[in-house]
């Protein structure tokens, strides 16, 4: 039985102990039908031309989590920003880990999606928001069909969350291969402020395939900063779908740091539904070996006087491959749109590949849209300059790479996170640089 059939048949026998009402059950039924009709995407589809899921979906995966695992915090501490006071919502093999988490219902809800899906007091919120931003493509639908657990964050009007929220999905490898489908729902009401750090992490190098969906809603004047840290083992693959719906005067940024994994696909989809919205999409990718990272972004400008800024840097070594597919859609009514997109890449080896494609579709006549992509090598003159000052080749390359990626880090608002990313970059480049940018 192939993976698609296995998923469909297991859907009907699904019993994860989370009882939902008919509203959700009907939605799931519709979703599995979409997946059944369309299946896993293939390279024949334009959006998947450069990213093949063939080897991923050929494998057999466990779909049910093993019984709850408890892990000593000290063993997994390194995956947290532990020097930072924060809320934490932690899952191990898809199951909530109460002792690693720090949730709250005090003046806001930072808790579990399973709770929100089952408790009557969240019924209205779920009906207003759940699956209202996600698209109905096959993989997002597959997630919806099985969606039962993940993070649920609801920040009420005028509330600024005083510390960041860490959402961490761990996988243990106690099942040989595992398919995980976390589902996060983030809602910031009017003028609410929230910062979130999300991470998917394996404990050992085992095949895990994560098909994750996150829906984010930013109401009027809300400020949301979302950071994705992707630094998993070589056997871990992640398909991330993040859908953001923004209302008038809101501000939302998503930073994606992709430093490790077998195959990573980031579908990042912004929809602007009011005037004076600001959307920021930034990313740094540093990969080697045969790793593959694909960023497919989409910004829907549906109202006048809005901005979007995209800045993605990629550094590819060995036989690594990268994809950047950046779509900007400016509706006829979205006059005075200011949309900016940049994708700059450095290839460190002759066998590394990047496919980059900006796609601008503009139906308004008074807009400012710019895009640019570059593919190059590290500047040889700069390397010689640095080496002539006594900086060894490897460190010089690392320093230049740092410098290349620097401006993406400028907008990271959590200093501890910035420092961690700096360290991850240094580790990734195999150097110990004695300073932070």
């Amino acid at each position: 039985m192939d993976l698609k059939e296995k998923l469909i048949s297991s859907f009907w026998g699904l019993d994860n102990g989370i009882e939902v009402d008919d509203y959700i059950n009907d939605m799931r039924g519709d979703a599995i039908k979409i997946f059944e009709a369309s299946g896993f995407p293939s390279k024949k589809q334009e959006a998947w031309k450069y990213t093949s899921l063939n080897t991923l979906v050929k494998r057999d995966y466990a779909l049910e989590s093993p019984s709850e695992t408890s892990i000593d915090f000290n063993l997994v501490k390194k995956y947290f920003l532990h020097d930072l006071d924060s809320y934490a919502i932690v899952f191990i093999d898809g199951k909530y880990s109460a002792h690693l988490s720090k949730t709250t219902h005090d003046g806001m809800d930072i808790c579990l999606l399973s709770a929100a899906l089952t408790k009557p007091k969240f019924k209205a919120v779920i009906e207003n928001y759940f699956n209202k931003a996600a698209s109905n493509d096959s993989l997002a639908s597959l997630n919806t069909a099985f969606a039962s657990e993940g993070a649920f964050v609801h920040i009420p009007k005028h509330k600024a969350v005083e510390k960041p929220i860490q959402i961490i999905h761990f996988s243990t490898g106690s099942n040989a291969a595992m398919l995980l489908q976390p589902r996060n729902l983030i809602i910031a009401d009017e003028n609410a402020h929230v910062q979130i750090i999300e991470r998917h992490q394996s404990f050992t190098n085992h095949p895990v395939f994560t098909n994750s969906v996150t829906e984010i809603f930013g109401d009027k004047r809300s400020v949301i900063d979302y950071y994705k840290v992707q630094n998993d083992f070589e056997e871990a693959s992640l398909i991330d779908h993040t859908f953001i719906k923004q209302e008038k005067d809101s501000n939302c940024s998503v930073h994606t740091f992709s430093f490790g994994g077998k195959l990573i696909r980031n579908n990042l989809n912004f929809t602007q539904n009011g005037e004076h919205i600001n959307s920021t999409l930034k990313g740094i990718t540093i990969i080697g070996n045969k790793q593959h990272v694909d960023h497919s972004t989409m910004v829907n400008h549906n109202a006048p006087n809005c901005e979007s800024h995209q800045d993605y840097k990629g550094i590819f070594g060995d036989q690594a491959t990268g994809v950047f597919n950046g779509r900007i859609l400016v509706d006829q009514v979205a006059q005075k749109t200011n949309a900016f997109q940049a994708n700059n890449n450095i290839l460190l080896s002759d066998n590394a590949t990047i496919n980059t494609k900006p796609q601008l579709e503009i139906f308004a006549d008074d807009v400012k849209c710019s895009h640019g992509c570059t593919i190059g090598q590290l500047d040889e003159d700069a390397l010689f300059y640095m080496r002539s000052r006594g900086i060894p080749k490897k460190e010089a390359q690392a320093l230049l790479t740092y410098a290349f990626a620097n401006n993406v880090l400028e907008t990271v608002k959590i200093p501890e996170l910035k420092q961690r990313i700096n360290k991850l970059i240094a580790n990734k480049l195999g150097v110990n640089i004695g300073f932070h940018l």
């Binding site: 640095m386 002539s388 006594g390 740092y402 410098a403 990626a405």
Partner: protein
């Protein structure tokens, strides 16, 4: 200190240096002059270990040790410094961070510990004052958006921080106004002592009024065709290079 014997070098199969002989002792200042395309910058690059140049013949020794198999960074660790004609802009790396990294990597190369932070700070303060460099300037990205004069002053600042044995100044005077020229020359003169040596590469006599050479060499067509004292620079300034060229042909 520096002994160059019958040095031949080429780039992309094009011969540039065709038999350079040059000996420099500690405490000396040598000026290398010559028309465009004569090989001055190539000589500087080859001494510094630029990998694009192919040394086919001859040798370069620093304090009796051959530089042949040493990389650019290893040569820097031995005390070779090149002030670039066109310093490279590196956005995203501040002057201070760059200089700190360069000093500590050089120390590491010599088997020394990192320079203690307070000593580094003291040194940065002292040397930036010497070159009349504003403190704010030090936190800017290296050479990024610097004027020509600022770039050159920053080169000499780095030289002051690294304290090389052999400093090669490649057209440090180009792009400098007279005030900046004086500051740079004062800086070089202050750093000069009996233990180190300086090679000044220039087109014009102007810089040599401030940094007075012990010897002047004229490079033409990849060879040193004439050497003399500081008067030679004045003669070149007055007569141009044509008489040298015709001398060589004759």
């Amino acid at each position: 200190m520096l002994k160059i014997k019958d040095l031949h070098a080429s780039i992309d199969d094009k011969d540039i240096l065709r038999g350079i002989n040059l000996e420099i002792n500690a405490g000396e200042v040598h000026a290398i002059m010559g028309p465009n395309g004569s090989g001055k910058s190539t000589l500087a690059s080859v001494i510094s270990g630029h990998e694009d140049y192919d040394v086919s013949q001859g040798s370069i020794e620093l304090e009796g040790e051959s530089l042949e198999d040493l990389s650019a960074e290893e040569r820097a660790h031995k005390g070779v410094f090149l002030s670039f004609q066109y310093p490279v802009e590196i956005p995203g790396v501040s002057v201070t961070n760059f200089v700190k990294t360069a000093i500590n990597e050089s120390r590491k190369g010599r088997g020394l510990e990192d320079m203690p932070a307070n000593e580094m700070l003291q040194k940065i303060r002292e040397k930036s004052e010497l070159l009349k460099i504003d403190r704010k300037f030090l936190s800017r990205s290296l050479n990024d958006g610097f004027s020509g004069g600022e770039k050159k002053r920053n080169e000499i600042f780095q030289m002051a921080m690294l304290e090389p044995k052999l400093a090669i100044l490649d057209e440090t005077d180009s792009g400098l106004d007279i005030d900046a020229l004086r500051i740079v020359a004062d800086g070089v003169n202050t750093l000069k002592n009996k233990e180190n040596a300086v090679i000044v590469i220039t087109h014009y006599q102007r810089l040599l009024e401030y940094i007075v050479p012990d010897f002047v060499h004229v490079l033409y067509n990849g060879r040193i065709v004439k050497s003399g004292g500081k008067e030679l620079a004045l003669e070149l300034e007055a007569k141009g290079y044509d008489w040298i060229k015709s001398d060589v042909i004759a």
